[in-house]
C-alpha cells in the first residue's frame, strides 16, 4: 500500500469516523441521570398528541421521581416492528398493539407475562370490566394491560329515518328488521327512467362491505349466535354463519348487487368528509365511539342516534368489543421501570383522559362521572354499557387468527360479488383454516417435543 493510498484512505475515512464518533445523537432533550424507557406506539395526529401530553407529564413528575424518561415513538406497523425487534433481541420496553396480536404473540413467546408485575406494582385488575381483562389474557396468563377500549354499535341517521317514514326513536332490533329498514332507507335515481338498468343508488340503507367502513368483515356470524372459535377448532361451518350469509345476501339481492357494488366503490377515506355516513349517503353504519369526533368536524349538523347492533335473538345481545393494549415485549431490558410507567398510565384519571381524547370508552367497571360528562361522544354511556354485556365478544383467541382473518375476508368479498355458492365457499374456508390450525398444532407439538419431550396434543388457544 503506497503513501498515496494511505492519504486517500484518511481523506475518505476520517470524515466517516468523525461522523460516527461526534455525529448527531438522538434524544438530546433527555435530562442527565434518567433511564430511558422506549415506548413504541401506533398513534400519530390528535391521538398521538394526547399520549405525548401524558408522557410529558409522567416525565415531569413520576418519571423525575424515579429517574425515568419515557421516549414516545409513533411508528407505522408497530406490531411487525416490535416482533422483528424482539426477534433481534432489542425490543422496546413498552409497546402499544391492537388486541388481536395478543394471542399469536403470546403463543410465540414474544410477550412478557404480567401477572406477577401487576401484583407487585399494586395494579387493581378487578377495577377493569371483565371483557377487557379477558382480552388481555391468553391461556390464563396476563400478557397485556388495557389501553383504549371500544365497543361497536349501530349509528343511524335520524333525519333519513324520518324521511323514510321510520321512527327515529325506534332503531332496528333484529337483523331481519335491519334489512327491512335498509330497504326503506335506500333511494335510487335514474338518468333514463325508461331504462331499468340505469337506476343507481344515491342513498344506501346499510352495507357490510369491507370497502365501505368495514374493518370487521368477520363479525356477522356472532350476531346469529355463531362464534368462530371454540378454543381448539375453527367453527365457521355452522348454522350461525349460514344464517348470517343468507341475511347479507338477502339485502343485496333486494337492492341489486351490481348497484350496491357501484355505490360501495364511491367510499372515500373514512376520516374525511367523504365518509358516506357523515355525508348522509349511508343511513346506518356499524362503528365505534370515535365516529362522534369525526361527525363534529365533518358533519356538525348531522342528526344521528346510536343503538346496540341487532342480534338474531334480542335476549342474547351480542356486542363486538376490542381495544388497544399495552405490552412489555419479551426480552425488554427494563420491565420493572416500564411497569412504573404503565402503573401511572393505568391510573383511572390518566387512562380516562386518554380514552376521552381518543373518543373511546373507559376500561374501568365504573367510569368517573367527569369522564362520561365530558366525553365528546354524547352516546358514550351506551357504548360503556355494551361492554358489560355477557354476550360481548372480542377477536377469536386463535394464534393463527391472521390467516383465518384473510380467508374470512376472501369469503365475504366473493360472496358480495356472487362469485361462489355460499355453502361451498363456507366449506372451502373451513377446510382451509382447519388445515392452517392443524399445521400449527403439529409444529407446536414438534417444538414442545424437541424442548422437553411430552405427549403430543396439548391444546393451543383458549375458549372464546
Amino acid at each position: 500500500m503506497n503513501v498515496r493510498s494511505i492519504i486517500l484512505g484518511f481523506v475518505l475515512g476520517l470524515p466517516a469516523v468523525g461522523l460516527l464518533v461526534f455525529g448527531p445523537r438522538g434524544r438530546p432533550d433527555v435530562p442527565p441521570d434518567r433511564t430511558v424507557i422506549r415506548y413504541w406506539e401506533k398513534w400519530t395526529g390528535v391521538e398521538g398528541a394526547a399520549m405525548q401530553r401524558i408522557v410529558d407529564r409522567f416525565n415531569a413528575t413520576v418519571g423525575a421521581e424515579h429517574g425515568l424518561w419515557v421516549d414516545y415513538q409513533a411508528l407505522g406497523d408497530v406490531d411487525r416492528r416490535m416482533l422483528i425487534a424482539t426477534a433481534g433481541g432489542d425490543p422496546p420496553d413498552v409497546a402499544g398493539l391492537p388486541d388481536r396480536f395478543v394471542p399469536p404473540y403470546a403463543d410465540q413467546g414474544a410477550l412478557h407475562p404480567l401477572d406477577d408485575l401487576a401484583t407487585e406494582f399494586g395494579l387493581d385488575l378487578a377495577a377493569f370490566k371483565p371483557i377487557w381483562l379477558d382480552i388481555c389474557r391468553f391461556d390464563g396468563t396476563l400478557y397485556a394491560l388495557p389501553s383504549t377500549p371500544y365497543t361497536i354499535a349501530l349509528y343511524y341517521n335520524r333525519q333519513l329515518f324520518r324521511d323514510a317514514g321510520l321512527d327515529p326513536d325506534r332503531p332496528p332490533r333484529t337483523p331481519a328488521e335491519l334489512n327491512e329498514y335498509a330497504r326503506r332507507l335506500t333511494r335510487m335515481t335514474a338518468n333514463n327512467p325508461q331504462d331499468p338498468n340505469d337506476a343507481r343508488i344515491v342513498q344506501l340503507g346499510f352495507t357490510v362491505s369491507p370497502a365501505m367502513l368495514g374493518w370487521w368483515h368477520w363479525v356477522w356470524p356472532y350476531f346469529f349466535d355463531g362464534p368462530l372459535w371454540d378454543g381448539r377448532h375453527f367453527t365457521l361451518d355452522a348454522p350461525g354463519t349460514h344464517a348470517a350469509l343468507a341475511w347479507i345476501r338477502e339485502l343485496r339481492a333486494a337492492l341489486g348487487n351490481e348497484r350496491v357494488l357501484q355505490f360501495e366503490g364511491t367510499a372515500g377515506a373514512i376520516e374525511s368528509a367523504q365518509n358516506p355516513f357523515l355525508s348522509g349517503r349511508l343511513a346506518m353504519v356499524f362503528q365505534g365511539p370515535w365516529l362522534a369526533n369525526w361527525a363534529r368536524v365533518y358533519a356538525p349538523d348531522l342528526d344521528y342516534g346510536v343503538a346496540r347492533f341487532p342480534s338474531v335473538d334480542p335476549e342474547r345481545p351480542h356486542v363486538f368489543a376490542s381495544m388497544d393494549v399495552l405490552v412489555i415485549p419479551a426480552g425488554a431490558r427494563r420491565p420493572r421501570e416500564a411497569m412504573i410507567f404503565l402503573a401511572y398510565l393505568l391510573r383511572q384519571d390518566v387512562m380516562e383522559e386518554l380514552c376521552q381524547a381518543h373518543g373511546k370508552v373507559s376500561p374501568y367497571r365504573t367510569p368517573r362521572p367527569e369522564f362520561l360528562a365530558g366525553h365528546p361522544n354524547p352516546h358514550i354511556r351506551l357504548f360503556d354499557e355494551l361492554a358489560a354485556s355477557p354476550y360481548a365478544f372480542g377477536y377469536p383467541k386463535m394464534p393463527t387468527w391472521a390467516e383465518a382473518w384473510a380467508e374470512l375476508l376472501y369469503l365475504l368479498e366473493t360472496l358480495l360479488r356472487d362469485a361462489r355458492d355460499p355453502a361451498e365457499a363456507v366449506r372451502a374456508t373451513q377446510a382451509k383454516v382447519d388445515g392452517v390450525v392443524d399445521h400449527y398444532e403439529r409444529m407446536a407439538d414438534r417444538r414442545r417435543q424437541q424442548e422437553s419431550p411430552r405427549p403430543p396434543g396439548a391444546s393451543h388457544g383458549e375458549s372464546p
Partner: protein
C-alpha cells in the same frame, strides 16, 4: 503494475466495502433463507427442519396458485403492452418538432410521482361514480360503465392501465437507444424507397432490439415483484376475488402477517428460480431477434 500477495491484499482492502456488504447483506441472508425454506420458522422460536414440506405445500396451496396465476397474467399483458406503448412513444418523442423537450418532460414527470400518491390518484380516476373515466364513459352514452377496481373482471385491466403511467424511465432508455441507430441506415432505406412503416420495422426495431431486450428483462423482474401499487389501490385488501393478489403480496403476508418465515422463504426461492428461468428463456428466444452493432 505490481502483482503478488501485497497487491491482492490492497485490492481486497479497497474492494472490502463491496464484498463485505455482499457477503453480510446479500449472500449470507440468501444462504440463511435457503436453509429456512426447509424449516418451519415462526420468527421468535427456533427453526424446525421440515425437509421439502414447504415446497410440497406450495404445490397444493390454492392461494399460491391464484397469486402465481395473477402474476403471470399481469406480466404477460403488462410487459408486451408497455413495451409496444413505450417504443411508439419514444419514436414519437424522437421526432424533431417544436416543444420536443416539453413533450419528453411530460412523459417523464409521472415517473417521479411517488407510487403511493399515484395509486391514490388512480383510485379516484377509476372511481365508479365520481371517476373521470366513468364520467366520460357516461357522457359518451354508456349506461353502466365498469366497476374498475371492484369487479374481478376489470381489476387486473385497471392495474395494467395504471402501469402504463410509469413508462417514463423505459421511454427515456428507448430514446437513448434511438440516438445510437446510425442515420445512414435511414438514408439508405429512404433511397431504396422504404416507407416510414418499413423503416420502422426494418431499421428502428432491429436497431433498438438490444434495448428492448434489456427493458423486457427488467420488466419481467419488476412484474414478478409488483406489490406497492395494488397494495395501495385496493387498500391492503387482495382485490375482488383476489384478482389483484400478486406473488410478492402473498409472500409478504406469509412472512410478516402469518409469521411463516419458512414458507415465505420457500416462496422467495421459487420466485428467484422463476425469474431466472424466464430471463434465460427470453435470452434464448431473442437470440435471433436481437441485433448488436458490430456483432
Amino acid at each position: 503494475m505490481r502483482s503478488g500477495p501485497q497487491s491482492l491484499l490492497t485490492g481486497l482492502l479497497w474492494t472490502a466495502p463491496w464484498w463485505l456488504g455482499f457477503l453480510l447483506l446479500l449472500a449470507g441472508p440468501m444462504a440463511l433463507s435457503l436453509y429456512i425454506s426447509f424449516c418451519d420458522y415462526p420468527l421468535l422460536q427456533p427453526p424446525v427442519f421440515v425437509g421439502g414440506a414447504n415446497y410440497a405445500q406450495l404445490a397444493g396451496d390454492p392461494v399460491f396458485h391464484k397469486a402465481i396465476a395473477n402474476t403471470i397474467v399481469y406480466a404477460a399483458l403488462a410487459i408486451p403492452i408497455g413495451t409496444a406503448f413505450a417504443v411508439l412513444l419514444a419514436v414519437l418523442l424522437n421526432q424533431r418538432v417544436r416543444g420536443q423537450a416539453l413533450f419528453r418532460a411530460c412523459v417523464f414527470v409521472p415517473t417521479i410521482v411517488p407510487l403511493v400518491a399515484a395509486g391514490v390518484i388512480w383510485m379516484w380516476l377509476l372511481n365508479p361514480e365520481y371517476g373521470l373515466l366513468n364520467t366520460g364513459l357516461r357522457a359518451a352514452g354508456m349506461t353502466n360503465p365498469p366497476l374498475w377496481l371492484e369487479s374481478p373482471r376489470w381489476a387486473m385491466a385497471s392495474l395494467i392501465l395504471v402501469s402504463l403511467w410509469f413508462l417514463g424511465s423505459p421511454i427515456m432508455i428507448y430514446l437513448a437507444g434511438l440516438q445510437e441507430i446510425p442515420e445512414e441506415l435511414y438514408e439508405a432505406a429512404t433511397l431504396d424507397g422504404a416507407s416510414a412503416g418499413r423503416r420502422f420495422w426494418h431499421v428502428t426495431l432491429p436497431g433498438l432490439s438490444p434495448v428492448i431486450l434489456f427493458n423486457v428483462v427488467v420488466g419481467i423482474i419488476a412484474a414478478w415483484q409488483v406489490f406497492a401499487l395494488p397494495y395501495v389501490m385496493w387498500r391492503t385488501r387482495p382485490g375482488p376475488d383476489r384478482a389483484t393478489y400478486f406473488y410478492t403480496m402473498y409472500l409478504f403476508d406469509n412472512a410478516f402477517n402469518y409469521l411463516k418465515m419458512g414458507y415465505a422463504s420457500a416462496m422467495a426461492w421459487v420466485q428467484l428460480l422463476i425469474i431466472l428461468g424466464l430471463t434465460a428463456l427470453v435470452f434464448v428466444v431473442s437470440r435471433r431477434a436481437v441485433h448488436y452493432r458490430g456483432a
